[in-house]
């Protein structure tokens, strides 16, 4: 009988050791963090998200976005995460992050969706990549403009970011890339393939909303491979069940999606996001870990829409009112 008692004590003991060691003690260490704030109790970070964004997080989790998109940036010594830029987007293209993620970034997150795989890019700073205010306001009419009207002030596509098909000669279109969606109008190759700033002035026949704007997210969710040559190989499923197609009654809805080719609804119909889709996009656009944290080094020269050379003074990394970041790395 003695053997049985010691067996059970051993079984309980080993597991209790692991339970206490890996969940209880860490919980004492990082389980009750407070937001960071400066001396005047202002500039609080992080802040809880809005109700819509919180609901969007549930939709993000329930539809399995977590299995392909991470929301954690590894430190610079462990990976190239902080050096990576997003594929589509204006030039200079938005960086994935300026700094690594820290426990404090997630204190209001439930469920926390750190992710485990990257079949798609990290989205920890997805909201940060959105166009800035003036770009956004300039882009707003573009989202509602009828097809084939040029969006004003479209940022030039980065060198590999050609807006549409018809660029098979460009380096951005790998030979293996699948055929473009049927019916999508080919872009004028000369204008599309040109990385020069002049391209920004040329008409964008596809009416693509500015990258990472609200309209862009909706269209990307609805038709992930229609966005640019960069996305041709994307394996993201379309989330069309988050959108409704219905006949236009009276005026076209303000939030109706801009779609072309085979994606476009028949004449007299429109595709509008459901409330769930709006929540999801609100959530994606709320993701932002760019605020400096005292415990984490921020990359030098970090600035909104960075990509600027690291010659920029370190102080420029901090948005107004926040404490200066730690000295530049290395």
């Amino acid at each position: 009988m003695k053997g049985v008692v010691s067996l059970f004590i051993g079984l309980f003991g080993t597991f209790a050791f692991s339970w206490v060691g890996l969940t209880v003690i860490p919980n004492l260490q990082i389980g009750a963090l407070n937001p960071q704030m400066d001396e005047e109790q202002t500039d609080i970070y992080p802040a809880p998200k809005s109700g819509m964004a919180e609901r969007g997080r549930r939709i993000y989790a329930a539809n399995g976005c977590i299995y392909c998109h991470s929301q954690q940036i590894r430190p610079d010594y462990a990976s190239a995460d902080v050096d990576r830029v997003r594929d589509p987007g204006p030039s200079p293209r938005p960086k994935w992050a300026e700094r690594r993620s820290a426990p404090r970034d997630y204190i209001f997150d439930r469920p926390v969706v750190l992710g485990q795989e990257r079949m798609g890019p990290d989205v920890a700073n997805m909201g940060k990549a959105a166009p800035t205010e003036e770009e956004g306001s300039a882009a707003a009419p573009a989202a509602n403009a009828p097809p084939n009207s040029p969006p004003p002030a479209q940022s030039p596509p980065a060198n590999t970011t050609t807006p549409k098909s018809g660029t098979s000669g460009s380096p951005a279109a790998p030979a293996t890339s699948p055929a473009p969606p049927a019916g999508s109008p080919p872009a004028p190759p000369a204008a599309a393939a040109s990385p020069s700033p002049a391209a920004s002035a040329s008409p964008n026949p596809n009416g693509l909303p500015p990258a990472y704007s609200e309209a862009w997210h909706h269209r990307h969710l609805y038709s992930p491979r229609s966005m640019s040559a960069d996305n041709r190989d994307s394996t993201m499923p379309a989330y069309r069940f988050l959108y409704e197609k219905h006949p236009i009654s009276g005026e076209r809805s303000a939030d109706a999606l801009q779609l072309e080719g085979s994606d476009a609804p028949p004449p007299g119909w429109e595709v509008v996001p459901t409330y769930e889709a709006k929540c999801l996009v609100a959530y994606l656009m709320s993701l932002d870990q760019s605020h400096p944290l005292k415990e984490v080094k921020t990359a030098p020269g970090a600035a909104p829409l960075a990509g600027s050379p690291p010659a920029a003074p370190a102080g420029s990394a901090a948005p107004a009112g926040s404490p200066p970041p730690a000295p530049p790395k290395k």
């Binding site: 597991f15 954690q72 926390v112 990257r118």
Partner: protein
């Protein structure tokens, strides 16, 4: 094949009257477990087929995303967790409990009392899994890996588990004989660890939720411990029973087994955080788990050595015994699983492999190549003893084995190599992100081929199992061998 002559291919029998009494007792014990264990296996088979079809679907959709993507409950992001949870809670857990209950009855040399209560538990468990699956499909997934079932489904599972396992523990209470065999250590461990693990995870994630990243820590602590302390423990315990039983030879060393068991319990329970390497956590947590993962080489070495020395000279039996062939494959995969676990969790390799398909390969090697293969082996041993018939077609068993072995081998290879390619590309900032995705696509297509092989293998097995269940097996006193045994040349078993 001369060695076959002196190799006992039947259950080792003690001759004459004493043997008869023992045989009779065994038959009585087996009969008492017949209904619940067969119910476990039948449920597990149904879930296995569902999970397999889902796996093929998920694998295909990952490189061809537009397939059925417009239907909310057929979207990849919902089917993937359904596949995972069906396999974990439907197939693997039910097969594990079936085998564990049977082993427990045999090893405690006691009949299973009140099997109807276990049967009730099995119904509850099935209902719990079904509720969870429907919940995920309807969009109520919790978003925690391996715990996607909505909490109300988890509650049903918990009630079911309490009904089932209290009987296994009761059997232990009424055991005869003083000796506690190695298998029983593993089984008792699994029986006690699982409810603790499951309750702790549910409590810390849903009842009194922990803050922020601690949820991810609890989640991965749960997932890895489920893999090691629930599936791994039952798998190893089964191997410790089946290998000596089939070859009719005692385990090589009791001391090695003791060392192997306690180091396994101690070190593997501390793994988990390495799946969050370089994430937003205090570095000590991750380092502790990496160290524990490296230390699991001790149980791997001792258990592996023990099995190897037990098998020494008896490897040719694998030519004949389906049970042994599957079990040894699984036991060897345990070594591979642990070594790959170490290789992918080191910080220097995690840089490339962390967010890649390699972690999917790791889970599949653990849950399939190691655990599921041992479960197949145990089913080939146990089912004939429950239905009183022998497996009908040796060819089907061989097909099952080779399709499974090649399937999981190909899948692991594709995911590991594809993961490495993907991870190296993602760390090369001169490449766009989408190029890293494009580079892994050929490997994902290869994985779909592997999924087809596994699908074939599982349907073959399910058909064969169905024959047994409906009493269409062979009536014979000799088990079905994979190849005719020359020593007993008069019998051909096809």
């Amino acid at each position: 094949m001369t060695p076959a002559a002196d190799i006992p291919l039947k259950e080792p029998t003690v001759s004459a009257a004493a043997g008869d009494a023992e045989q009779l007792e065994r038959a009585r014990i087996d009969a008492s477990t017949r209904v619940p264990v067969l119910m476990f296996y039948a449920s597990a088979m149904v879930w296995l087929l569902i999970g397999t079809l889902l796996a093929g679907f998920v694998s295909f959709k990952l490189h061809s995303p537009d397939w059925f993507s417009d239907v909310s409950f057929l979207t990849w992001g919902r089917l993937r967790p359904v596949h995972m949870n069906v396999m974990i809670y439907g197939w693997a857990s039910m097969a594990a409990m079936g085998t564990a209950i049977w082993l427990m009855a045999r090893l405690c040399r006691t009949t299973l009392r009140h099997p109807l209560l276990i049967v009730t538990g099995i119904w509850f468990w099935n209902i719990g899994v079904l509720i969870g699956v429907v919940g995920i499909l309807m969009g109520y997934s919790t978003g925690y890996d391996w715990l996607e079932f909505p909490p109300y489904a988890a509650l049903v599972l918990f009630v079911a588990y309490a009904l089932i396992i209290s009987w296994a523990v009761l059997m232990f209470r009424f055991r005869r004989g003083d000796q506690i065999y190695i298998t029983q250590w593993y089984l008792l461990g699994a029986f006690l660890w699982f409810p603790w693990l499951y309750a702790a995870a549910q409590a810390m994630l849903f009842v009194v939720p922990v803050q922020g990243v601690m949820q991810a820590a609890v989640g991965w602590w749960y997932a890895n411990n489920l893999l090691f302390l629930w599936f791994g423990a039952i798998g190893l315990g089964t191997a410790y029973y089946m290998i000596p039983k089939v070859i009719g030879r005692p385990v090589y060393s009791y001391h090695l087994a003791t060392i192997g068991f306690w180091t396994y319990a101690l070190f593997s329970s501390w793994t988990g955080m390495q799946r969050l390497v370089d994430g937003p956590f205090p570095a000590w947590m991750i380092t502790a788990s990496i160290a524990a993962t490296i230390l699991t080489i001790i149980p791997v070495a001792t258990v592996g050595l023990n099995h190897h020395m037990t098998m020494q000279g008896y490897f040719p039996v694998m030519r004949y015994s389906p049970t042994l062939r599957f079990t040894v494959f699984g036991a060897m995969s345990y070594t591979v699983f642990s070594i790959i676990g170490i290789l992918i969790s080191l910080r220097s390799t995690a840089r490339y492999l962390h967010f890649s398909q390699a972690s999917i390969a790791y889970s599949h090697i653990g849950l399939y190549a190691f655990f599921t293969m041992i479960m197949f082996g145990s089913m080939y041993y146990i089912v004939p003893r429950l239905v009183g018939r022998e497996w009908r077609y040796a060819t089907l068993i061989k097909l099952h084995f080779w399709a499974s072995a090649y399937g999981v081998g190909l899948m692991s290879l594709m995911l590991l190599v594809g993961g490495l390619v993907e991870g190296v590309d993602q760390n090369d900032t001169s490449m766009t992100f989408i190029e890293s995705v494009a580079s892994v696509l050929p490997y994902l297509r290869g994985r779909t081929v592997a999924a087809l092989l596994l699908t074939a293998s599982h349907f073959i097995f399910a058909f064969h199992f169905g024959l047994m269940l409906f009493g269409l097996g062979r009536t014979s006193t000799v088990p079905t061998f994979l190849n005719p045994v020359e020593a007993e040349g008069s019998e051909t078993h096809l």
